[in-house]
């Protein structure tokens, strides 16, 4: 029995480590003035979220989170930053109106999320469904959630076409 308590304690510690990683990452993503640190903070926070998925029992979604958000999206942000201003230049001061607007927008979003949290009826993950395998997720995506799936594909398609058009126009203007 003592062994069972042991694993539960380990799981709790792991949970709080992951939460700490997410929060710490979020703080780093917002406060430092060095933009690369901000991205790395974002990477940390997103990895923490992947850890939360792992804690909830879906290794697949955790890996997808790492692969897509950390491995693809943040890498492209890093790539864009590498092409921007060099390290040794002075960083401009924070402008107060921008900070105020960002804080306001975040506060509204936070209030909305808190509202949703209080309104929804929470069921623990193991009671809701024990099966988070790739097969189940695949079936759900193509049956119950196929509208969402298609809409997301459409959004991505629009984004791709937009990127191609933008790149094509800027090239035509510069030549």
């Amino acid at each position: 029995m003592s062994f069972l308590i042991g694993t539960e304690a380990i799981a709790h510690v792991a949970f709080w480590i992951v939460v700490g990683l997410t929060f710490g990452g979020a703080v780093i993503a917002v406060f430092p003035r060095n933009i690369i640190y901000n991205v790395l903070g974002l990477v940390m926070a997103l990895s923490g979220v992947a850890g939360l998925y792992l804690y909830l029992g879906s290794f697949f979604i955790a890996l997808m989170q790492l692969l897509i958000y950390v491995g693809a999206i943040c890498i492209s942000i890093v790539f864009a930053i590498m092409l921007s201003r060099p390290l040794h230049l002075e960083v401009p001061k924070r402008s107060v109106p921008k900070v105020a607007m960002a804080a306001g927008a975040s506060a509204i979003f936070f209030a909305a999320v808190v509202g949703v949290i209080f309104k929804s009826n929470w069921v623990p993950a193991p009671e809701q469904s024990g099966d988070w395998s790739v097969v189940t997720i695949g079936h759900l995506l193509l049956t119950r959630y196929d509208l969402v799936f298609e809409v997301i594909s459409l959004v991505l398609l629009v984004a791709i076409i937009g990127a191609i058009v933008t790149a094509g126009y800027s090239r035509r203007f510069s030549s």
């Binding site: 003592s2 062994f3 060095n34 690369i36 790395l40 990477v43 290794f59 697949f60 890996l63 997808m64 790492l66 692969l67 950390v70 491995g71 693809a72 890498i75 492209s76 890093v78 790539f79 930053i81 590498m82 092409l83 060099p86 390290l87 040794h88 395998s133 790739v134």
Partner: protein
């Protein structure tokens, strides 16, 4: 409690064995590459330290460990120091899901010869290989040097582009095996290796994987006659050693993945499973060295055109055709 500690002990032994094997193999891959490449170019290669230069890797190791670890002025210290570790750690972690052989019987228990048989092992490999880009990009950026920055940018662009064709080329293999687990993929090839039914996927995979590991003909990120040494120009001592180690562990990962996905993994006649597996890794490594001795470096536009206009469309067609054949 007893079974739990025994399992933990077995896990530790496995981790130690795999780590030791990887590091030793990486050291001697360097020797093999230098020797084989020298013979291809009608030179002798290393032949001073020990018989046939066999002690050369050990001498190199001591040299790297004892050299000064310099940090350039104006570099971003934290990121500069962390970047090489990212490259090596992600490369080493990929071996956690690669099976070295079938199940082993020990004291009446069956011990699988893989550290962790994940049911989505292939995705684990992809996730880690996409994280490896951080080491290159950030190492190049943090060095505060033009050569390093250019190398880092090239590396990031190249690795992002070829990751797509790398992933897409393996979809048919997953469709044939019906599983993401590397152990199941090997089991699915008991009758015949997948290279016979998926030659196109094999070619796309090998080309993209070579681009991922930044070897000639895809070594633009470290092109020595344009960029000094690219993203690791400013690194010295053991941190350069970590980049170097990461590169050679990546070579083994590539060999192991080709063996597992296309050459039937550990299966083969007469010899034991791990022996066959090592032979297959070695053959892939030798072919890669041979390619390095044969081909010139691609131009940057050729690199991007090959990835986006040839490999990705071919991989997509291959997926559709394989799907159609499986359905019929």
């Amino acid at each position: 409690m007893l079974t739990w500690s025994l399992g933990f002990l077995i896990l530790m032994v496995k981790l130690g064995a795999v780590l030791l094997f990887l590091l030793l193999a990486a050291a001697y891959l360097v020797w093999l590459e230098r020797k084989f490449l020298a013979r291809l170019q009608v030179r002798y290669g290393p032949n001073r330290a020990g018989k046939y230069g066999l002690l050369q890797p050990i001498a190199d190791m001591i040299k790297m460990l004892t050299k000064e670890d310099t940090i350039p002025e104006g570099a971003d210290r934290v990121i500069f120091l962390l970047a090489p570790a990212v490259v090596t750690v992600t490369a080493l972690l990929m071996f956690a899901v690669i099976p070295f052989g079938g199940d082993l019987s020990f004291l009446g228990k069956r011990i699988p010869m893989v550290i962790a048989d994940l049911n989505i092992g292939l995705l684990f490999v992809f996730a880690l290989s996409s994280l490896g880009v951080y080491g290159i990009a950030l190492g190049g950026w943090a060095s505060n040097s033009k050569y390093s920055l250019l190398g880092g940018i090239r590396g990031a662009a190249q690795m992002i582009s070829y990751e797509l064709s790398l992933g897409l080329s393996l979809v048919p293999v997953v469709m044939l095996a019906g599983s993401f687990s590397l152990v199941d993929i090997v089991r699915a090839q008991e009758a015949y290796p997948f290279i016979l039914v998926q030659p196109l996927a094999f070619v796309i995979f090998v080309i993209s994987a070579m681009a991922e590991s930044k070897r000639i003909p895809f070594d633009l990120p470290e092109a020595e006659n344009e960029l000094g040494a690219g993203y690791h120009t400013e690194y010295s001592g053991i941190r350069f050693g970590l980049f170097f180690l990461g590169e050679y562990v990546n070579m083994q990962v590539l060999g192991a993945l080709v063996a597992v996905l296309f050459l039937g993994g550990w299966s083969g006649p007469f010899l034991s499973g791990p022996a066959w597996f090592c032979i297959k890794i070695l053959v892939v490594a030798l072919v890669m060295i041979w390619i390095r001795g044969t081909l010139p470096r691609l131009r940057y536009d050729q690199l991007m055109a090959l990835g986006w206009k040839v490999l990705i469309p071919l991989a997509l067609v291959n997926i559709v055709v394989t799907g159609a054949v499986i359905l019929i």
